[in-house]
């Protein structure tokens, strides 16, 4: 029996061993130093399958401290199975307090959304990223995409945008709209809706992106300029629901989900569950809104 206290718990704090954490932290620092640049990292095995948020989990576990208050959202919801399991896992591995309140959390792991409520200097948002390579759609070879990034050769991406416009009459790209970070690297903002894209720019919080399967970490430091790709005469636009309002809160100006009922009727509901709760129970939380160009 080993007496040392260190060996009395089954796992190290936050599951990862300290050397692995240190490696991931180093990569995170590098990512912050080079906004939008994809930093390769070790991506160790986790007790969940790759593709289920391992990248986000690596980042969260590497940076979480005992005083952090943790929140997980999956497509805007705190209550999905995936969000619950991840929250539970982190709670068990760290003993940290968890929350569903966006304002209260210091560390938020997210899949495919940015909370509607403004995030502050006190908060870090960690994205789970399925495909970090924004150029993958136009170039299949990794060696080529790497040199394209290195040389800032993004003409193919622009052409694909031009082609989308020619084919569909608008810059249709539902999620994962390409953005240029700090005037240099083109980046995939993970599949967040266009609605969330303007919130990446000049934010008060730190954004970290982890792609476990693809073994990449990248970051957008606070107050970094992030521009969605657009032409001079064909501009970037966020989703627009017209006069439609949320069926529960009657709110507009939030990302709405379209929900089909069993009787095939449909309604629109605010996607961010914590934001919806707050709308229904108290004053509207602070929010940053983007107005589409005329």
């Amino acid at each position: 029996m080993i007496e040392n206290k260190k060996f009395q718990s089954a796992y190290n704090f936050a599951f990862l061993d300290e050397r692995t954490k240190r490696e991931i932290r180093r990569k995170i620092l590098k990512a912050i130093a080079l906004p939008g640049y994809q930093v390769p990292y070790s991506s160790p095995e986790m007790p969940i399958a790759r593709g289920w948020g391992t990248g986000g989990l690596h980042v969260s576990l590497a940076i979480i401290g005992r005083k952090d208050v943790f929140k997980v959202i999956d497509q805007g919801s705190d209550a999905s199975v995936n969000a619950c399991s991840l929250r539970q896992f982190i709670e068990r591995m760290t003993g940290c307090r968890t929350t569903v309140d966006t304002a209260e959390a210091t560390l938020i792991q997210t899949r495919h959304r940015i909370p509607e409520e403004i995030l502050t200097e006190q908060q870090i948002l960690v994205f789970q990223v399925p495909q970090p390579e924004i150029l993958r759609g136009v170039e299949r070879l990794e060696t080529r995409t790497r040199s394209m990034h290195a040389e800032a050769d993004y003409s193919k991406l622009w052409v694909s945008l031009y082609e989308a416009y020619v084919r569909y009459g608008s810059l249709m790209r539902g999620a994962g709209y390409p953005v240029r970070v700090n005037g240099r690297y083109m980046m995939s903002p993970s599949p967040i809706p266009r609605w969330d894209v303007p919130n990446l720019s000049d934010a008060r919080c730190l954004y970290l992106f982890g792609a476990g399967r693809e073994k990449r970490i990248y970051a957008i430091p606070p107050h970094t300029v992030v521009e969605p790709l657009e032409f001079e005469d064909v501009r970037f636009r966020v989703e627009d629901w017209g006069a439609t309002a949320c069926a529960y809160s009657n709110a507009r100006d939030a990302f709405l989900d379209e929900i089909y009922e069993d009787d095939s009727s449909r309604k629109f509901v605010v996607n961010d569950s914590n934001f919806l709760d707050k709308l229904r129970t108290g004053p509207r939380p602070p929010q940053r809104l983007f107005r589409n160009p005329q």
């Binding site: 040199s147 031009y162 082609e163």
Partner: protein, 284 residues
């Protein structure tokens, strides 16, 4: 344009351009060439695609490169268009740093700038020059975007003008070139190649594989573009008829070496080298 030829000197100066595939030894170049009638080194098996190529190209000039298959003529333009790196040699281009910088010493980024702004290439196979996943307009847009055009309306206007100039129906601008005829694909390639008004254009066997009437149309278009825009061109062809029609001056290549160079009508009517005489006398 024509008078500039003498005042401003050369546009492109190529010296000692060499491309060897495989593992050559010190004597591989000496063991190959027209005198050995091969470009494969008998000792090492290295393939000397071209070696010691020297020439100057003048502004507004059309230079022909002839030779049989495997003579190294396509390799020559591919090296100059950075499709592959040369084994040795240098190339100076007055459109870049006034001709003081060797093109082969450029960083990838500057190389791409030269490729997109200062050079144009039309390949024998349209698949090499066009992206068939993009529309015809998108293919041209790629060049325009690389040159900093960020306005869809003006990109589309310029693309349709280019297509009109090369006689591609503008109505087909938003279709992929996959559905086009061979001659039309070639004309889209030419539109793309001249989109940014490059001072130098490479044409690699552009009319091979096209039927005679389409061939005549493409050649006529190239002549027109040349006389209207004054672009310098390097025309690679095994077809002496194409060379006669388009070029002022011609290099004759055999086994990767220049065996003769001169005025095109002199090469065709008074060839000096045994190989050129054979080539000319084989003309239909």
């Amino acid at each position: 344009m024509n008078d500039m030829a003498l005042n401003s000197g050369w546009l492109l100066r190529v010296r000692g351009l060499t491309k060897i595939y495989g593992q050559p030894d010190g004597d591989s170049i000496a063991r190959t060439g027209p005198q050995a009638s091969t470009n494969i080194c008998p000792v090492t098996g290295a393939i000397v695609a071209c070696a010691g190529i020297d020439f100057d190209l003048y502004p507004g000039e059309v230079l022909g490169v002839v030779g049989e298959s495997g003579s190294g003529k396509s390799t020559l333009v591919q090296l100059l268009y950075f499709d592959q790196p040369p084994t040795a040699g240098s190339a100076f281009f007055t459109a870049l740093d006034n001709g003081t910088t060797d093109l082969f010493t450029l960083s990838n980024q500057r190389r791409r700038h030269v490729r997109n702004h200062l050079l144009g290439m039309v390949y024998q196979n349209p698949r090499d020059g066009l992206n068939f996943n993009f529309t015809a307009g998108g293919n041209i847009a790629e060049k325009l975007i690389m040159a900093g055009s960020m306005n869809v309306a003006s990109i589309r206007e310029r693309s349709s003008n280019l297509l009109r100039q090369t006689e591609v129906p503008v109505a087909r601008m938003d279709q992929t070139p996959r559905t086009f005829s061979g001659g039309m694909q070639q004309r889209v390639q030419i539109s793309k190649a001249i989109a940014n008004h490059p001072p130098l254009l490479f044409l690699d066997e552009v009319t091979s594989g096209l039927d005679v009437s389409v061939q005549a149309k493409v050649l006529d278009m190239i002549r027109q573009i040349q006389s209207e825009l004054g672009i310098s061109m390097i025309v690679v062809s095994h077809d002496l008829g194409v060379i006669r029609m388009l070029t002022d001056r011609t290099l004759v290549l055999k086994n990767g070496r220049i065996v003769e160079s001169g005025l095109t009508d002199q090469i065709l009517q008074d060839p000096q080298h045994a190989y050129t005489q054979l080539l000319v006398s084989s003309l239909l």
